[in-house]
């Protein structure tokens, strides 16, 4: 028997699924006692180069409220040519095309190695992808030039048949017509007026007002031709147009912010696509260089003396525009999601740009959020290029209009999902009343997906304690993901997984060893972050602590009232440490982060896959020295040594930190001397490794090269476990590590406290 480690790895590679528990407690009561819910991280479009899609339609269960897809877990009667649905036990005849089926001639979807299978289906006309650029022109000249360059470059990356459109905005919003010869034509909207989708379409001449029908004729896509053109036809035209783009010409008086009509611009973009290409894959790409300052969706007024809201203001309920703006963008995001269009936000400015208010646009539609200091940085340019990266088949790593449906065997129900999705409000037998995350449905829409988009799915065991599941019974879950591939094909990917039921009373050790602490940490973190969006920070932390304590009480081995006796088994040993770092992470701590930064971090945390999420929770630290090959070291202040170079990856930042001695050597210029070639190589090694990470990571992390005592060293110092601080430095001796000037508790203190609580307070036990 393979270890659980291998089993988990195998499952992840094949199906893109990581469960918190790989053995499922067989009753509701037992499940709740496990503290961490039965849940999984699911990556719907996990890259599977070894999985060629099949070119036919999936076979569905004929029961109207089931419609599960034929899968390897189904019982098949090859003689009678019928199969039994493993979810509703309906017996279904095979369709005529399966007439030749037999034990030796099985279709792929029945083979166990195809627990994940992808179908290419012919449904409706294939529509090209749509890219609508929404560009802020209230930028510094330098930024605008850089942005123009990036946009022009991106045209060459787009699929040639893709439709592109351009909206620019500043004080006014301009929708550029791309088709006309000669004069460059654009439609202009006032930046202060909220318009309905119908008004927008009328004003763009896309709808004949009420002449042909009661609500006006819905427009045929060709009517929108003026604004959305195949890139191969307007490449030159658009390149010129972008080239001629000027900064917003309206004067900005002293002491004022430029008037930026982001809200109306987005409203127009959404309205345009809504009217012309509903339910078609489309990306609205918003490039902003500052906060919206007028009209609907305004985040801050144009008076410079009134700064943009901070966490402090928000907590004091002092953020004037927050609620209104958030409501506006939420409505917009929901509309966009309903039409299957995703919205990306590329916000580059030194100050905040209103991501807090606008985040839902991307969160609801699966769009990207990229935050940088300037468009004139490699962080932006490379990230932006990353959007258009291609997989091994030469297809874009993006998919559109994804709909994920989850079917469960009858002992399970779906509580909800957390990730870049919106609920489709599909009530069914699989839906639990207990909501976790975006619940109340077993279908979610993800307007835009990448191979790394990952949802946290939360389940509930509904089997009652007194109705035991027969020994050896297995529960099953089917994930059906329909989406539009970037080559415009419609595809359906079906993943069917199964796990054994286990009786928690007799098999608690088995269940314990089936615990996937990494997945559990991420899943609990997602729950925490989801709560943090609506609750006060301390409440969330308290909730997390309680869960952790309960988990330790459940699975720890200890003598009551004896903290020193506390032990955790190997499968849980890292979990408290993850929680320690999670508590300190920017996802739950807003101190030192602007509201925009918090939104940005949380946005990425709730969509990345397990590995990346773990890096975010607990950054990775590598140490480089002359003593041996690079090695991962503890994320601890004790790892900061004078003769080491450290490379820290927090997902968002990549920090290279030269220890004190190394820095002195570098200053002395030893690396230039031929006799110290090895030092040069040592310096280079972390940079090479960093480059590897930079190349693959999306979004591009901020690359920081610093040294002992450098101002940027704070990025490292704020992450490491403060095992040595000014409070305990002398007690621990001076030789190892660097003290961190903080009052935060160290992991050691945290653990001690945890142990104490776990062994003592039984009152908290259910």
């Amino acid at each position: 028997m393979t270890t659980y480690q291998e089993f988990i790895q195998q499952n992840e590679d094949r199906d893109g699924v990581r469960f918190s528990w790989n053995l499922w407690p067989s009753s509701r009561l037992e499940a709740t006692r496990l503290v961490v819910p039965v849940s999984c991280l699911f990556t719907p479009l996990k890259e599977r180069p070894d999985l060629p899609p099949v070119q036919y339609e999936p076979v569905l269960c004929s029961r109207a409220n089931c419609k599960a897809v034929l899968n390897p877990l189904c019982q098949v009667d090859f003689r009678a040519k019928v199969w039994a649905c493993n979810f509703c036990f309906q017996r279904n005849p095979f369709p005529p095309s399966y007439a030749g089926i037999s034990e030796v001639n099985q279709p792929a979807e029945l083979m166990p190695q195809f627990s994940t299978i992808e179908y290419i289906v012919q449904r409706g006309p294939q529509t090209p992808l749509i890219f609508l650029y929404v560009v802020d022109t209230c930028l510094e000249e330098e930024d605008l030039q850089a942005l123009k360059g990036s946009l022009q470059m991106s045209l060459s990356l787009l699929p040639p048949n893709a439709l592109v459109g351009l909206i620019t905005f500043g004080r006014m919003v301009q929708v550029h017509e791309l088709s006309c010869e000669g004069i460059a034509k654009s439609y202009v909207f006032r930046g202060t007026k909220d318009l309905t989708s119908k008004q927008i379409q009328e004003m763009l001449g896309l709808m004949k007002p009420a002449a042909t029908g009661p609500q006006g004729r819905p427009v045929a896509p060709q009517d929108a031709a003026a604004f959305l053109q195949p890139i191969h036809r307007v490449d030159m035209n658009l390149t010129d147009l972008l080239g001629e783009l000027q900064r917003d010409p309206w004067p900005v008086p002293q002491g004022k912010r430029p008037l930026r009509s982001t809200g109306v611009a987005l409203s127009v973009a959404v309205g345009l696509l809504e009217g012309t290409f509903p339910n078609t894959g489309a990306r609205v790409m918003l490039f902003v260089g500052g906060p919206p300052t007028q009209g609907p969706g305004m985040v801050v007024g144009d008076e410079l003396k009134i700064p943009i809201r901070s966490w402090h203001d928000i907590q004091k309920d002092n953020a004037r525009h927050l609620k209104k703006a958030t409501k506006f963008y939420e409505a917009l995001g929901n509309r966009s999601a309903a039409n299957g269009h995703s919205i990306d936000i590329y916000a580059c400015a030194l100050d905040q740009t209103g991501l807090l208010e606008m985040k839902c646009l991307s969160n609801l539609t699966g769009g990207h959020i990229v935050m940088g200091d300037s468009f004139n940085t490699s962080l932006f340019t490379q990230t932006f290029q990353g959007v258009f990266s291609k997989d091994h088949n030469g297809d874009f790593r993006m998919a559109f209009g994804g709909v994920l449906e989850i079917k469960t065997s009858r002992e399970l129900k779906v509580c909800g999902a957390i990730g870049p999705c919106v609920s489709l409000n599909s009530k069914g037998p699989y839906v639990s009343e207990n909501e976790m995350g975006i619940g109340g449905t077993n279908q979610w829409k993800m307007c835009s997906l990448t191979p790394s988009s990952t949802l946290g799915i939360y389940l509930e065991v509904v089997n009652q304690h007194n109705a035991p599941i027969p020994q050896g019974g297995r529960g099953a879950i089917q994930f059906v993901t329909q989406y539009q591939h970037s080559n415009t094909q419609k595809r359906i990917r079906v993943t069917t997984i199964t796990r054994n039921w286990a009786d928690a009373q007799s098999q608690i050790q088995h269940i314990e060893s089936s615990f996937d602490q990494e997945a559990a940490a991420v899943l609990m973190a997602r729950l925490g972050v989801f709560r943090a969006e609506s609750e006060e920070g301390p409440d969330v932390l308290r909730w997390l602590d309680r869960q952790l304590i309960r988990l330790c009480q459940k699975f720890g081995q200890y003598n009551k009232e004896d903290p020193t006796s506390f032990r955790l088994s190997e499968s849980l040993s890292l979990y408290p440490q993850f929680m320690f770092h999670l508590r300190r992470s920017p996802f739950l701590q807003v101190f030192n982060n602007s509201p925009d930064e918090s939104s940005y971090y949380r946005h990425h945390f709730t969509r990345q896959d397990l590995t990346q999420s773990l890096i975010m929770i607990q950054p990775i630290l590598y140490s480089y020295s002359f003593h041996g090959p690079p090695e991962p070291v503890l994320l601890d202040s004790s790892s900061i040594l004078p003769d080491r170079i450290l490379l820290m990856d927090t997902f968002f930042q990549l920090v290279i930190y030269n220890g004190e001695t190394i820095a002195q050597w570098q200053k002395a210029g030893y690396q230039e001397m031929p006799e110290y070639q090895n030092f040069k190589q040592l310096l280079k090694a972390p940079q090479d490794d960093a480059n590897d990470i930079l190349e693959t990571r999306f979004p591009m992390p901020r690359y920081i090269n610093t040294e002992h005592g450098g101002s940027q060293a704070r990025f490292l110092l704020s992450k490491v476990n403060p095992s040595q601080t000014h409070n305990n430095l002398y007690a621990w001796g001076q030789e190892s590590g660097a003290p961190i000037l903080t009052d935060d508790v160290s992991l050691q203190v945290f653990m001690d406290h945890l142990k104490k609580l776990a062994v003592s307070i039984c009152l908290l036990c259910p």
């Binding site: 006014m172 301009q174 000669g182 004069i183 460059a184 034509k185 654009s186 439609y187 202009v188 909207f189 006032r190 007026k193 318009l195 009328e202 004003m203 763009l204 001449g205 007002p209 001629e244 000027q246 010409p249 309206w250 004067p251």
Partner: protein, 889 residues
């Protein structure tokens, strides 16, 4: 309309009763004003009973004396049927048939009667010729108070010696009655027609600009009158007394100058403001909006590109013309190029703005579809200097016609177009002028959408006035916005049908703009005509963001103003723009008695932004005599100004009153004025004699003509839009224009001396003056006809038209062929000369005698019976005479 509602309406001319308004109570007539009576029982023109009429035979006697033109006629043309005449004036006009048949049924049907010799009644052409002979080519010095200037039709040179040139100000009378009583008695309106930016001929010096530096113009502390020749320096020149309000002011130190032995300042001749009637001050920042110097004005061309205009080729015509026209934008004397910025907008249901920044390779078009809340989508690059952006603009003008070549849009907006202009000026912080070219009634869903409310059934009813009233709402506010921003609107209309001109022209007529109208526009026949108007309109001398104030010496004051103006209060005349052809007529009323000794002073100050963006103050001063003798007043009356005032006040009155009332009032007042003269000034004579003051002897013909103009004649034959158009056009006219409009020139061309330098003398506007073999040119400042008699000699036809005979004449010819003979050259020279002189271009229409279009021509023969109703000159005179006699008894 209920009587109450009517009573509430503002009285005609806003005159308090008894202050020279229209009151019937001169003689024993009813005491209440006529116009207050519409709601009640029909109030017919008080027709004398047939029996009171003396009809005896007599020869006509025409007597000239010094001041009066006396002629009397005792004749038998007043037969019984003539008694229907009063009804014709006061009541309903007879239908067109009756009018067309040529007048009085009695005169036609009865046995041949001895007709009144038309030559015997006062002739306008004669009066004009006499004045020409007397004053033509002379120098007119303005050094005498209350001096009556030559007629507007006379060419003379003005030398400013302390009073404003008559080109700037003309008065109805140059001698004011000393008391309100007298004014009320004579009923002669006291008014001045001010054309503040009038063009001066080349041989007259342009106005001096006085610059007093940072202190600005010197003004009286109390009444704020500007320094002028009438100010009395006293106390050795240290102080001066304001002659307007008698306040004594200190002379500023920098302005001090010693007085000579005459009590005149030593620098009298060095300072225009001390020696001249008209001059300008350079305004300081205090006179500018927001205390900031204004930006140069801008012209925005706004072209309707809906189906009609594209199809007719108009859009292309405009675009082609602009390319050359923009080279000739008006500029300051001596400037290299014009400071005026230009911008372009095209529109149908939506507006297209163009970015024509010089840095661009191609113009950019910006579409604004949000017509409910108009805004300007761009700042930089919309209003540009033509010189800088010439290639881009030419590129744009080339592209516009092709860009919309396939348009099928048949609806347009209008109010948002003007709004866009206002917003553009607001954004650019300048004033300027919009040139709007529109062919349709704005029916698209947007603010200012109009609907067809033309209803011929209203003609000749109490509700007829609604046809002239603009629709309320959007346009009212727009007028205000325009005036505040200094946005003048010139509207060029190319209608094929009714387009509610009364409403569409509301903004132009309150912002100092003009409305041009080309019915059923056709490229071949109207193209040149329209372009000529456009050129004139663009190149005109014009001032923007103007505010005018008329100050008077104590005893009287300006009470009412007529023109293309906007009034926010009772004293400040606001004009978004004022050009060289726009005149404001100002009515004066007495406050107190005036003294014969000190006379009366008028100072008219206009603050405006000139074409290069400088703020200027133009001051016109005029001193008038005062007299307690009515004869003095009648002696210094000026008919042309009087009729200008009457035309404007009547045209304003028809907004509020039935036409019938207005016509009655006009006739009554005419009769009153003349009767008062007869009673007080003329030497006793037989009652049957009609005695007219010399200065007013042709007044009746003008008055009659005025009453026959389209707005005042209630005929369903006339288009409502045309009537509204004429009404508004007249409101802004100066004295020359109304004179010409009401008494067109009829010039015989068939027997002129082709070698002579001058054009032949016009003949009287009557059919009788036409000869079958003749060729006549008729013009009234708006239309021009070339009339060819049936029996015109083939030589004449060949010579001018290059056609063998009249029969070969086809279609509508709008220009004369270039034929190389002295006659043709002379005729074309005359036409060209007239076209140049008039503010508007006139479309030349060639009509043959007895052809259908001759009707249009005959309408302008104002001494004849009107085609759509209205009496002939002779009949009117008889009627007025009867009225006078009625009043005298």
């Amino acid at each position: 309309m209920s009587q109450q509602g009517y009573v509430a309406a503002p009285p005609y001319s806003q005159a308090p009763p008894g202050m020279g308004g229209y009151q019937v109570g001169y003689a024993a007539g009813p005491a209440q004003p006529l116009y207050g009576h519409l709601g009640g029982a029909p109030h017919p023109f008080s027709a004398p009973a047939a029996g009171t009429h003396t009809s005896t035979k007599s020869a006509q006697v025409v007597v000239w004396n010094k001041h009066s033109f006396v002629f009397c006629f005792l004749r038998n043309i007043f037969n019984s049927s003539c008694l229907a005449l009063p009804g014709q004036f006061g009541g309903m006009m007879p239908g067109p048939q009756a009018g067309m048949q040529g007048g009085f049924p009695g005169a036609m049907a009865g046995p041949p009667q001895k007709k009144l010799d038309p030559d015997a009644i006062p002739s306008t052409t004669q009066v004009i010729e006499d004045d020409k002979a007397k004053n033509g080519g002379q120098v007119y010095c303005t050094n005498i108070r209350g001096q009556v200037p030559p007629l507007v039709t006379t060419d003379f040179t003005v030398q400013d010696q302390g009073n404003a040139s008559p080109r700037f100000i003309r008065c109805t009378t140059y001698t004011l009655p000393c008391t309100a009583e007298l004014a009320k008695q004579c009923q002669v309106p006291l008014a001045a027609v001010v054309k503040p930016l009038a063009n001066l001929p080349k041989n007259e010096a342009p106005l001096y600009a006085v610059n007093h530096g940072e202190t600005g113009p010197i003004r009286c502390n109390r009444c704020k009158a500007y320094m002028c020749p009438y100010m009395q320096f006293i106390d050795g020149g240290r102080r001066y007394q304001c002659t307007f309000c008698n306040c004594v002011n200190e002379v500023p130190v920098f302005y001090f100058q010693h007085l000579d032995h005459m009590g005149r300042r030593v620098d009298f001749y060095e300072r225009p403001e001390l020696s001249l009637g008209s001059y300008e001050f350079v305004a300081t920042l205090d006179y500018c909006k927001n205390n900031k110097p204004p930006n140069p004005p801008a012209f925005i061309f706004m072209i309707d590109v809906s189906y009609n205009n594209i199809k007719s080729g108009l859009v292309k015509l405009i675009c082609d013309e602009l390319k050359t026209l923009l080279e000739k934008l008006p500029r300051e004397e001596g400037a290299d190029c014009s400071a005026v910025k230009v911008g372009f907008v095209t529109y149908d249901k939506v507006l297209h703005f163009y970015n024509v920044k010089s840095a661009l390779a191609q113009p950019q078009m910006m579409v604004v579809s949000d017509t409910t809340e108009m805004f300007v989508p761009l700042l930089d690059g919309f209003l540009v200097s033509y010189q800088d952006s010439k290639p881009v603009i030419c590129n744009l003008l080339d592209q516009i016609p092709t860009m919309f070549a396939d348009t099928a849009e048949s609806e347009t907006v209008f109010a948002p177009v003007i709004q866009a202009g206002v917003e553009a000026f607001k954004a650019a912080e300048c004033s300027g002028k919009l040139f709007i070219f529109q062919s349709l009634m704005p029916t698209a869903e947007a603010p200012g959408k109009l609907k067809n409310r033309d209803d011929k059934k209203l003609v000749n009813t109490d509700k007829e006035k609604t046809l002239f009233q603009p629709q309320k709402g959007v346009y009212e506010q727009l007028c205000k916005d325009c005036v505040v921003q200094g946005c003048c609107v010139d509207l060029f209309l190319f209608p094929n049908q009714y387009l509610d001109l009364a409403t569409m022209a509301d903004v132009p007529s309150h912002t100092g703009g003009s409305v041009y109208k080309y019915n059923n526009f056709q490229m071949e026949t109207d193209g040149e005509h329209f372009l000529a108007d456009l050129r004139k309109s663009v190149q005109k001398h014009i001032g923007f963001d103007a505010i005018m104030r008329v100050r008077t010496s104590t005893g009287f004051r300006a009470t009412d103003f007529f023109g293309a103006i906007h009034m926010n209060n009772t004293t400040d005349v606001e004009m978004a723009a004022v050009d060289c052809d726009k005149a404001v007529t100002v009515e004066f009323k007495h406050d107190d008695a005036l003294s014969e000794e000190s006379g009366a002073l008028i100072q008219c100050a206009l603050l405006y932004t000139n074409i290069s963006g400088q703020r200027r103050l133009r001051v016109h001063n005029l001193s008038l005599n005062c007299s307690s003798q009515l004869s003095e007043l009648y002696k210094s009356c000026e008919t042309d100004s009087l009729i200008n005032f009457f035309a404007k006040s009547a045209y304003r009155a028809i907004l509020n009153q039935p036409l019938k009332n207005v016509r009655e009032i006009l006739v009554n007042q005419t009769a009153h004025m003349l009767a008062c003269y007869r009673k007080n000034c003329a030497s006793p004579s037989a009652a049957s004699q009609l005695i007219l003051p010399d200065a007013m002897k042709v007044f009746p013909v003008y008055m009659n003509s005025l009453m026959k103009t389209a707005p005042l004649v209630g005929s369903t034959e006339l288009s409502t839009d045309d009537r509204a158009h004429q009404r508004l056009a007249v409101m802004a006219m100066g004295v020359e224009d109304t004179q010409l409009l009401l008494y067109p020139r009829l010039i015989p061309l068939h027997n002129m001396d082709v070698d002579s330098e001058v054009a032949p003398a016009p003949v009287r506007c009557s059919e009788e003056r036409l000869t079958d073999s003749g060729l006549f040119l008729l013009e009234n400042g708006h239309s021009m006809f070339l009339w060819i008699g049936q029996a015109a000699s083939p030589d004449l036809i060949q010579g001018i038209f290059n056609l063998p005979s009249l029969a070969h004449f086809q279609g509508l010819m709008s220009t004369l062929p270039d034929v190389d003979n002295p006659l043709s050259k002379k005729v074309r020279a005359i036409i060209r000369d007239l076209q140049n002189k008039r503010p508007n271009s006139m479309k030349l229409q060639i009509v043959r005698q007895k052809d259908k279009p001759e009707m249009l021509f005959r309408q302008l023969l104002v001494e004849d019976k009107g085609l759509h109703g209205g009496a002939s000159y002779v009949d009117f005179l008889c009627y007025v005479h009867r009225e006078i006699r009625q009043l005298l008894t």
